[in-house]
Amino acid sequence: MMPAPAPLADPERVAIEKLLGLAIFGEKVAAKIYLLMAELKPEYRELMTKFARMEAGHGGSFLAAARANGIEPDRAFADNELGYLISQVDEHFAERNFDALTVVQGFIVESLAIATYESFLPIADKFPGTRDAFSAALADENYHVDWVLRYLRLRYFDATDEFRVLAERVNVKGIDCIGGTMMNITEYLDAIGMSGAYTAGAMMDGYTRLLETVGFTQKDATKHVVGMFMPLIRKYRHGEKTK
């Protein structure tokens, strides 16, 4: 039997409602992206559909864990954060651009998810039932990224410059959006006992490693990622809206 959840102070409750809202509805967006990818490349339809089901399953298990803890996910917050991402996804789909969707989902969205889930696990036991849900989701996200890396490495084998053009084009808006969300949730991560700074750093580092795996040099990948995050970091520091 699960232990009863401890009562939450107001700031902690507000924070976890927003964070779980973002995780639950973010997983739904991830499922949507994989379904769109399934439509674009029939040869990957079965696998992308499987990934979509897995993402939808995460959303379901997170929601069950939230309810078990008496937490109502903040949908309005999630919708506001995710709206810009959805419009980008729709644009890439309208262009029938499978690879752009792969970078958005496989690199940018998964980097945020992996960094936050990894950072959440050490404090997960404050919210009974969440450890299992987030551990399973983390393993699945890494599984998805494994495929994404294999696909992109092969697709852009001997064509790293072409990948660079794609990544730069997709990243400009994608990082602005998802990196902006990372900055916007920093205070909520701190409020529940995580480190917003560590999570943001983990996302940047994780994203950099993905670029390296596909063919960027370490320094080049770092410059690329840090260069995109710096304007967001400065906005955060100055209390400005990141998007």
């Binding site: 750093g201 580092d205 370490q218 400065r234 955060y236």
Partner: protein, 214 residues
């Protein structure tokens, strides 16, 4: 050899800014880390001196004065570990990036370009010596990372305000924003941290938090 092209207000402010930090470095290196008090550094400082203003009002009318004073205060110490981390590591990387970026700009005149070349060469030389000095004086891996975090926090926190001044004074002429410069500095710093055996993720997380001001 640096030519004596007359510098206008913007260029003069740039070299005045650089001079503040290079002259501080020269004093601190001589006292605490003589290995970094190189011929190239001394020669660059001598070439720079005629182009820099040194009075209390050197930055009058700009947003640079206060942030420069704060940053100089945060960087001032006679402790070898502090000098190695803040001056030898962080500010040398920032200098190297500034010289490379401003020197390559189409807006740079001959004097600025020549000074940037000399400054870049001196910074390259200092940074090449740094890994050995850090290993010998501080150590590697987690010990070095902890020292870096302890010694650099105040300087990293004060860089943001300097960035605003740099953008206000130099962005239009040189077409570069401080955020871009810091991207380059961070990339070089992260590469060096890996070379020095520091945990990359911890280093990136620290750097991110320090720049975010948390």
């Amino acid at each position: 050899m640096v030519s004596s092209h007359t510098l206008d207000r913007v260029d003069s402010l740039f070299w005045t800014l650089v001079y503040r930090f290079e002259s501080l470095a020269a004093v601190q290196y001589a006292v605490a880390v003589p290995e970094l008090d190189t011929d190239a550094k001394r020669s660059f400082l001598a070439a720079l001196a005629p182009h820099a203003r040194t009075g209390a009002d050197a930055f009058a009318g700009t947003a640079l004065g206060g942030p420069v004073a704060t940053l100089v205060a945060s960087a001032t110490s006679d402790d070898a570990r502090h000098v190695l981390i803040v001056q030898g590591f962080l500010l040398e990387l920032l200098g190297q990036t500034l010289y490379r970026t401003f020197g390559a700009s189409a807006a740079a005149n001959d004097t600025t370009r020549a000074l940037c070349t000399a400054g870049g060469r001196a910074a390259d030389e200092a940074l090449a010596l740094l890994p050995g000095l850090l290993a010998a004086r501080i150590g590697a891996g987690d010990v070095l990372l902890q020292t870096f975090m302890d010694e650099s926090q105040a300087t990293l926190a004060s860089l943001d305000a300097l960035g605003e001044g740099i953008d206000e004074v130099f962005a239009e002429r040189y077409g570069v924003k401080f955020a871009d410069l810091m991207g380059d500095v961070a990339a070089e710093a992260i590469a060096m941290c890996v070379e020095l055996g520091m945990d990359r993720r911890k280093f990136v997380a620290f750097l991110t938090g320090a720049l975010m001001g948390i």
